[in-house]
Symmetry: C2
């Protein structure tokens, strides 16, 4: 036992992904690390949980300072399993990623990486999701190392307001310009489906999509990324649209 | 073709669930209805989407005023498929549910029912999720009929502010006291796992959990439900915690 902070690492690309190996490499120098990550890619699972199937944990490595596990669950399952079966309590920090692909803007809602972060935050654990804005298979994470390290150290030292977690996105550029606190840009996916017919004459549909935004204001995460800054969006658990209460007053009145 | 509003119905309990059959029964009297629902229960899938597997649509019924389909996707896939493959455009309203089990409080984040609603709202379609606070297999939905109808009619007439959707939860009581606009109560699931050993000597874990809240203020959805009111929480797509920006200023400054 040491006084080092207890850090849980997870992701949604699976335990062998380059991004989580890079993140593990950084946090190993900071704290006592437990890795609990999906045994296969789980991108796009959102905040899915598994209760109709049993979960299984595989021990990959185990020593005093470092333990690594995979499981057959989702990123949210990983956080729940680590808290309850491995720690039997709470780690000091949960980090998720580094995700291959941006989770800026509306992507926070679809993201398994951020679902793990939000899940940890529901349990009042400070939590940070890291994503890099490229799907390149031989991505070079190195330029982001000192920034990721600083963000983690800062959060361990200063804390994050309760009920808030961080969505950190890293532009894929050689020279990073710094870190910017941002708001989630307004955007959406304009979907199409690639509809085909299988050899048995049955139709099937592949989801395709194009990311669309008109939000070009300076304070948005997408603009920060475009300008070479790492974007940090504080994310809240309370989804209530307080500002809409007055406009919706008609729901409480009138005849049935 | 008529001037009736185009209403899309979906859910996460699957197309044969009692709750969606009840909701279909209500909206059939209001508009031109398309049903696109999962072919099997999808509770707890959150905002999952399917892009690594092909999606298939099954036509169950089709006439001028009413069309019913199921698919092998998640609730979010259902909305995307209906918009792109069936409507080739946008319906006037998306309704999801009636879910078997409450989606009040933090459950909004885990809910497939509400994920469909949020997805529709990302595409700027007014959308409402309905859930009833019971898992009883022979649930009597009738007391809620006139309220669900009124909420839908109200929304069609008055609209909902953009970027906001509605999370409606119905207490399971004989006498409903009315409709209340609420905020999302603060709560969490205190998880446990029921850990067992299979006949081959391998460990496995069933997710279990207990819903915990200390939020007993009058304006919360949980308190409204407890008092026999239908709770309506306006839900926003922007998760940015604007209030936390100042406290996190340290992330932008300091040495690397």
């Amino acid at each position: 036992m040491t006084n080092k902070p207890k850090i849980l690492v997870t992701n949604d690309d699976g335990v062998t992904a380059l991004g989580i190996r890079f993140l593990i490499d950084i946090v190993k120098e900071i704290g006592e690390v437990v890795v609990m990550a999906p045994d296969k890619p789980q991108s796009g699972v959102g905040h899915a949980i598994t209760f109709a199937d049993p979960l299984r944990i595989k021990t990959i490595e185990k020593s005093d300072q470092y333990a690594e596990y995979s499981c057959n669950g989702t990123p949210v399952d990983c956080v729940k399993l680590a808290e309850n079966v491995i720690y039997k309590g709470r780690p000091d920090l949960v980090v998720s990623g580094v995700n291959h692909g941006s989770n800026a803007s509306i992507n926070v809602i679809y993201s398994g990486t951020m679902a793990a972060v939000i899940e940890a935050n529901i349990d009042e654990i400070p939590a940070i999701g890291f994503s890099i804005d490229t799907y390149s298979s031989n991505v070079d994470f190195e330029p982001s190392r000192k920034y990721i390290r600083k963000i983690i150290m800062d959060v361990l030292e200063n804390g994050i307001p309760k009920d808030i977690c961080l969505n950190v996105n890293i532009p894929y550029v050689e020279e990073l310009n710094g870190v910017k606190l941002c708001r989630q840009a307004k955007a959406s996916w304009k979907e199409g489906f690639d509809s085909r017919t299988d050899p048995r004459g049955q139709n099937y549909h592949w989801l395709t999509g194009e990311f669309v935004t008109n939000d070009i204001k300076e304070d948005s995460d997408l603009v920060a990324l475009k300008n070479g800054f790492i974007s940090v969006v504080p994310v809240q658990l309370d989804l209530t649209a307080y500002k809409a209460m007055d406009a919706l007053g008609y729901l409480e009145s009138g005849d049935l």
